[in-house]
């Protein structure tokens, strides 16, 4: 039987579906008897979901000034030594 310490070590591979069958069965057997690890797993998954949600950026049109600076930089690449200003 694996311990809580072992289970914590397997969390990422478990969530990635990367555990082989014996390890996955041992992981699930521990979860079945350990409410503390079930709680930890749920909060660990919530951590990943919260990070993803917090960092999600709505689609945004690029600032026109930036677009023009990039296009100017492209033109400047054929003229060594010049740098486009934003």
């Amino acid at each position: 039987m694996i311990t809580c310490r072992d289970l914590y070590g397997f969390l990422d591979d478990y969530l990635a579906g990367a555990l082989d069958l014996p390890a996955r069965l041992a992981f699930q057997a521990h979860l079945a008897i350990c409410s503390a690890c079930r709680r930890y797993l749920r909060s660990y998954e919530a951590t990943l979901a919260a990070a993803k949600s917090a960092e999600a950026a709505p689609p945004e049109a690029p600032p026109e000034k930036l677009v023009q600076a990039i296009l100017a930089a492209r033109r400047a690449t054929s003229s060594p030594g010049t740098k486009a200003a934003r």
Partner: protein
Amino acid sequence: MFASPAPEAELLAALRAGDDHAFETLVRTHSGRMLSVCRRILRNDEEAKDAVQEAFVSAFRAIRSFEGTCQLATWLHRIAVNACLMRLRSRKRRPEESIDDLLPTFKDNGHAAVEPRDWSPSALQLVETRETRDFVRDCIDRLPEIYRTVLLLRDIEELDTAEAATVLGVTEGVVKVRLHRARHALRKLLSERFEVRA
């Protein structure tokens, strides 16, 4: 010429031919998303804009050698990530901080030393608010740089382990260990608020 999004192959051919309209289409289509990526990694608007510009310049130079084995968006995303990492490396480094205090601890018998609470329902509800999203981002930023970066690359930018290892110049094993520690540490930081409200 490219008023509507051009099929990728057609756009790529035009880019390789040096078509000005094609380059403008490329920039207008992808720079907004690339700016979001650079803002996430650099946390500085001006630096993010500079990184986007640098990324496009790199892309323009490399467009003829782009083999089309992935989508242009994916290719540009990787270039933008690289531009950001170059900038992070050039920043004055802070002494590396330990995150051991944020990692789980165990008793001698291997059981968790602290009884965890399940705050997932409150977290997922609260993260809908702007204040909570700001709090989560602040917690990510409290991670030491090597952990923050790997968390962003793997969990937010969705690079796989091999890709993250390549851009960071470390082994895949190092990426896995850092990601593991970063996730546990972030969980601990989030617990400070979410446990109270659970």
